[in-house]
Symmetry: C2
Subunit: 323 residues, 2 copies
C-alpha cells in the first residue's frame, strides 16, 4: 500500500500529537505513513518520510482563500500526494473547510458527483454507528445532492461496517411524508425510487439508535444536529463527573461505577471513531476533529487504510449508478 | 383571573393524568382551571367546571383536517374559550400541529405577526433556560419570520425569566457571518439592525449553555436540534442508570450519588419546564409534551397564569414594533 499522508500541521494539538499518532500508527499497525508539513516544526519524525510544505492553513483562515493562496500548505500538498499517486489517502485534523477545498480541488470529484458530503459516524454503543451525511460540507442542498449522499453513505456504511444493505433514512421533523421542507419531500420521492433500502423519515432522537444505518440531510441541518449532540453529551458527562467528585463519599462510590461506565464512555469518545470521511472526491480523505489526540490519528490512519484496501472510491463510484 | 382552559383529552396519559394535574393546580396553586373534553371520559372533575366537547383530535390525526372537521373537539373548544373571554389561556399536551392550528384559527394572529413560532425552553442547569424559537411550528421560514421570532422570543424571555435585555443569537454552523444558509445570512442582517441585543451566530453545542438567552432558527432546524438533544440526553441517562444497576455493588454505590445527581436530573426533567409556548397568537397557549404527567400540567398551568398576569400577549405585540 502507498503511504497514508498525515497533515502534521492541522489540529489543536499539532504538530506534537499528530506526529506522535503517525509514529504510533506505524509501530502498532505496521501501516506506511508519510508526514506532510514543516520539517522544523515536525522535529523528530521517528524515521517517517516527510513531504515538505512551508505553509499552514490555520483554523481561523478562510478555507477558500487559504487553499487558493497557500499552495505550499500541508493540506494542499497532502491532497496533491494522493492525486499524484505518492499517497493512498490523506488524514487531517485541521481546518475542515480547507481540507474539503484542498481535496476537491486537487483530487477532483468522482465523475457524476454533484457535491461531496461529509459522513460522520454517530456512536450507538453496542451497535454499529449511524452514518450522518452531510455533516457540514454544503450548507444548502438540492434533492439530488441528498440522493447522492444517500447512495454514497450506504456504500460507505457497507465498506466501513460490513452492512450488506444499509437502512437509509431521511432526517425530518416527523415520520409522516407530509412533514418537512420542500427539500425533504423532494428527496423522499427520489429515495423511494432509488433502489436503496429506504426506511422513510426519522427524527433527531433516532440518530443515537439502531433505527437507521445511514441518515441523510443537508449540511446545515446535519452540522447543527451533530454539534447539538456533542454539546448535550459533553454537558451530561460533565454533570455526572461533577456529581462523582462532589464529596469524598461520592468519589469512593463512583470508583465502583467507572468499570460499568467505561464501555459507554469508550464508544462515545470521538477519538475512537476514526474521524469523518469526505465522500465524493477521487481519494480517501479523513477529516479528524480539531481536538484529535495521537490515538485519534492512529484510528484515522487505520480506517484510512481499511477504506483504501476495501476499494471505497470504486464502491462510491458504483453506488451512483445504482451499483 | 379567568380560568385556564386545560385540554383534558390531549396527551399520552389523557385524560387521567391531565385531570389529576388540573385538580392539583387548583389545590396547590389556588389557580382557576376549567377542563375541556368529554364529561364521561373526564369522570370525577373534583368540582372543576367542564367545557363539554364531544370530539378528540388524536395524535395521529392530520392537524389541519382535524381542526377543520372536528369543530366540537376539546382543542377547538379550548381555543374558542380563550377567544370568547371565558378562559385566560389554554394548555394542551395533545397533537402539537392541531394545537397550533386551533389557536391560530380561533384566537387569531397578533397583528403584524407573519407566523407564530414555538418557543421551547432548553434546560441549562444552574442557569435560566435557553429559549429556542422556532422549535417546529414552521418547517420553512423567511428572514422576516426569524426576525419576528427573535423579537417575540426576547419578549418571552423577559416575561418568563425576568431577563431585561435578553442575549439573542442565530443558530448556524459557525460563528463567522460568512457561514450558513442564505436564510441565516439574511436574518443576520435584519437582526443586526433590529435594536435587539444580538450577539451573533451560535452553534448547536451552545444551546445547553448560557451563551445566549434566545436562539433563533427555522422550525425544521429547531425541531431537529430539539429532538437530537432529547435523544442524546435520554440515551446517556439510560446508560448511566444501566451502569448503576449493573451489580449489587454498583447499586449500593449509586445510592450515594443520587443526591448529587438529583438537581441536574430535576432540571433536565421535561415535566419541570412548564412546556413550550406558541408565540404570535392572540392568547396564551402552552403546548405540553405528549408524555406529560400530572406534575407537567401543574407546571404548565402555573406558567400560563404567570404569562397572563405578566401581560405576555401585550409584550409580544409591543416587541414587534421595537417596543
Amino acid at each position: 500500500m502507498l503511504p497514508i499522508a498525515v497533515d502534521a500541521m492541522g489540529g489543536d494539538h499539532a504538530p506534537a500529537e499528530i506526529v506522535a499518532g503517525a509514529r504510533q500508527a506505524v509501530e502498532e499497525l505496521g501501516l506506511p505513513v508519510v508526514l506532510v508539513g514543516q520539517p522544523e516544526a515536525i522535529g523528530n519524525a521517528g524515521g517517517l518520510d516527510i513531504v515538505p510544505a512551508s505553509e499552514v492553513i490555520g483554523m481561523q483562515d478562510d478555507p477558500a482563500q487559504g487553499v487558493r493562496r497557500k499552495k505550499d500548505s500541508s493540506l494542499v500538498r497532502a491532497a496533491e500526494a494522493v492525486r499524484d499517486g505518492r499517497a493512498s489517502a490523506m488524514v487531517s485534523a485541521g481546518n475542515t473547510g480547507a481540507t474539503m477545498g484542498a481535496a476537491l480541488l486537487r483530487m477532483g470529484r468522482i465523475k457524476g458527483v454533484q457535491r461531496p458530503g461529509i459522513a460522520t459516524p454517530i456512536p450507538v454503543p453496542g451497535q454499529t454507528p449511524t452514518v450522518l451525511i452531510d455533516a457540514g460540507a454544503n450548507a444548502e442542498a438540492t434533492a439530488t445532492y441528498l440522493l447522492q449522499f444517500a447512495q454514497m453513505g450506504a456504500a460507505f456504511a457497507s465498506a466501513r461496517y460490513g452492512i450488506k444493505r444499509p437502512k437509509v433514512a431521511l432526517l425530518s421533523i416527523g415520520e409522516e411524508e407530509t412533514k418537512g421542507t420542500t427539500l425533504v419531500k423532494g428527496a423522499r420521492a427520489l429515495l423511494e425510487d432509488s433502489g436503496l433500502r429506504f426506511i422513510g423519515n426519522v427524527e433527531g432522537r433516532d440518530l443515537m439508535s439502531d433505527v437507521a444505518d445511514v441518515v441523510v440531510t443537508d449540511g446545515f441541518t446535519g452540522n447543527v444536529a451533530l454539534k447539538t449532540l456533542e454539546g448535550a453529551l459533553k454537558f451530561l458527562v460533565n454533570a455526572v463527573f461533577t456529581a462523582f467528585n462532589s464529596s469524598e463519599e461520592a468519589k469512593s462510590a463512583s470508583a465502583v461505577l467507572l468499570d460499568a461506565l467505561a464501555p459507554v464512555a469508550g464508544e462515545l469518545d470521538p477519538d475512537a471513531t476514526g474521524g469523518a470521511m469526505l465522500l465524493g472526491v477521487e481519494g480517501v480523505c479523513i477529516i479528524s476533529h480539531g481536538s484529535s489526540s495521537a490515538r485519534a490519528i492512529v484510528n484515522a490512519v487505520r480506517v484510512a487504510a481499511e477504506m483504501v484496501d476495501g476499494g471505497l472510491v470504486g464502491r462510491l463510484r458504483d453506488s451512483l449508478s445504482g451499483g
